[in-house]
């Protein structure tokens, strides 16, 4: 038993060193911009960079669109599959998991060939079209996470009874969907939204190959040209990921405390 405990602590120690040294190293490096003393100059330089503000804003906007349209696609589908088409469940689940199997770079390669300016659906022919395509690509990337979190939340409510009750009271489909289903799976929607946010903010491949001024390609550009700013950006990115995951935990803890209203 004593041996077990020793090895367990050893494992934790190794993990701690492997995971915290790079974070510490990054933070330390980001403070080294002023010669001979630690300062937050690198952060100043990052935040005052116009390109940082623009690309960060652009990515936040794209993330919000991705979440809004992604949820409008995922929630009704998950609901409908549970209510009316349980036999399609394996198929839909398989499709939502495909983006984990097909690398993002392959998907975007397909887009560029299929939707170029000389094709039938020339998404990449205009800036607006390319932005739409970018949002669609982000929805595709986050599909596995969004679908799973919404579907898990839907498991805890009785979709059929809820729908029938609403129908008896005379509710129409939009009312059922937006006033009964959405509020009841809010915990799933929110955790799906936060993870989508984290994915979109750091995403590089899609935005770079579609030539959109997003945060990911900006990071890469800074990395290739500056010395201390990349570390500051890495610290900021890590803090953002941590925030997203923290919010997911918070949401799931809150939803556990307040049991589903249908129960």
């Amino acid at each position: 038993m004593k041996m077990t405990k020793f090895f367990a602590w050893l494992a934790i120690a190794i993990g701690l060193i492997y995971f915290f040294v790079p974070l510490l190293g990054t933070f330390e490096f980001s403070l080294r911009m002023r010669r001979g003393e630690y300062s937050f100059d690198a952060y100043d330089s990052v935040f005052s960079d116009v390109q940082f503000q623009q690309t960060f804003g652009f990515s936040i906007l794209m993330a919000l669109f991705t979440i809004a349209f992604g949820m409008l696609l995922v929630v009704p589908t998950a609901y409908w599959v549970r209510l009316r088409l349980p036999q399609m469940r394996p198929v839909v689940e398989f499709v939502t998991l495909m983006p984990l199997v097909i690398p993002a770079i392959v998907i975007v390669f397909g887009y560029l060939r299929l939707y170029n300016s000389s094709s039938y659906i020339p998404f990449t022919g205009s800036t607006f079209g390319t932005n739409v395509l970018l949002v669609m690509s982000y929805i595709t990337l986050s599909l596995p996470y969004m679908y799973r979190s919404v579907d898990t939340a839907m498991r805890t409510i009785d979709v059929r009874t809820l729908t029938e009750a609403a129908e008896i009271l005379g509710a129409k489909w939009p009312t059922i969907l937006f006033k009964c289903i959405f509020p009841n799976v809010m915990s799933g929607v929110l955790s799906g939204a936060f993870i989508t946010f984290a994915i979109v903010m750091g995403e590089f491949t899609m935005a770079a190959l579609l030539n959109r001024p997003a945060f990911g390609p900006y990071l890469q550009l800074v990395g290739a040209n500056k010395a201390y700013e990349p570390s500051a950006l890495a610290v900021i990115a890590f803090a953002m990921t941590w925030l997203s995951m923290g919010l997911i935990q918070l949401v799931s803890r809150l939803s556990k405390m307040a049991p589903a209203r249908s129960a």
Binding site: M1, T4, K5, A8, W9, A11, I12, G15, Y18, F19, V21, P22, L24, G25, T26, E28, F29, L73, V74, P76, T77, W80, R84, L85, M88, V95, M98, L100, V101, I102, P103, A104, I105, V106, I107, G110, Y111, L112, R113, L114, M136, S137, T140, L143, G202, F204, T205, L209, G216, L219, Q220, G223, P230, S231, A234, A237, F238, T241, M245, Q249
Partner: protein
């Protein structure tokens, strides 16, 4: 429902299927058709003639070496991730540690498994790069020059070490439930029958765990194989792995044959697809014991 008239069934069926039409159209347009387009393109010449030449051309030294180094990096990082991840998951489940360590590690793993891409590359440059914290620390305090040993962050070893930062947490997250599924009774039963700890692990625990272990390793393999952002930010295009070669091909047709690019993409899908199919199969085997 089956007793209703046939026209009613038809109308209802149509409405049922219309309900998932938006999802199916989305999946076709932005996932399935683009992928199939590349897969088909791999078997045609630019003039539209059917051919196997693109596939055969994959077996040229440049492309083969790209696949080989990709496979090596993915294999090494998934093996390392699996080993350390298993060790960590074992420590928090069976190591008798305080429970806050368990919840702390699981939360951290959730964050770290999502901390990939370009910032991860920056973190490792700041740590193990030529002027990174660890490199400088070793030089100043121990007079040990890391880079004189032939170590280079922009290499196979460097990339592997970097990838493990998101591989280990993923392993911890997937393996912890599997280890939780090891019932205390099995251990007690084997102890009563006179088995040593080693025998228990070799003959009871490991045979139950290996599908989870191997399956998750395959998932990690596919995960590393498709990743590009970290490698690109870390090495630029100096390390010739498949995703970076494909990136260059998309940007500027470096292979001088667009359809060879499709074949390159097809090769990636085949490799990640195979490892995922094996993962799903092993997972189904593993779940038999987790009920």
């Amino acid at each position: 429902m089956a007793t209703a008239s046939s026209s009613f069934i038809d109308r209802r069926t149509v409405i049922d299927w219309l309900g998932i039409a938006p999802f199916m159209i989305f999946a076709l347009m932005f996932l399935i058709v683009p992928t199939l387009y590349l897969v088909m393109g791999a078997f045609f010449t630019p003039d539209g003639q059917f051919t196997f030449k693109n596939i055969a051309d994959l077996f040229t030294p440049t492309i083969m070496s790209a696949y080989w180094i990709s496979i090596k990096v993915s294999f090494a990082s998934s093996l390392g991730g699996a080993l350390i991840g298993f060790f960590l998951a074992w420590a928090i489940v069976l190591g008798g540690l305080p429970s806050w360590i368990r919840s702390g590690l699981l939360t951290f793993s959730g964050v770290a498994s999502n901390f990939a891409g370009v910032p991860l590359a920056f973190a490792f440059i700041a740590t193990l790069g030529r002027t990174g914290l660890v490199t400088v620390f070793m030089r100043d305090w121990f007079g040990f020059n890391l880079y004189s040993t032939g170590f280079n962050l922009l290499s196979f070893v460097g990339l592997t070490v970097t990838y493990m930062f998101f591989q280990i947490p993923l392993m911890v997250l997937i393996l912890t439930p599997a280890l939780d599924g090891l019932k205390k009774e099995w251990r007690e039963a084997s102890e009563i029958l006179g088995a040593s700890t080693w025998q228990y692990w070799r003959m009871v625990a490991f045979p139950i765990l290996w599908p989870s272990l191997l399956g998750t390793s395959l998932l990690l393999f596919a995960n590393a194989f498709g990743a590009i952002a970290t490698a690109y930010a870390l090495t630029g295009s100096s390390l010739n792995i498949v995703p970076i070669l494909l990136y260059a091909q998309i940007r500027g047709d470096v292979l001088h044959n667009p359809n060879l690019g499709y074949a390159l993409a097809l090769g990636m899908i085949v490799i990640t697809g195979l490892s995922n199919i094996l993962y799903i199969w092993l997972r189904m085997r593993a779940e038999r014991w987790q009920k």
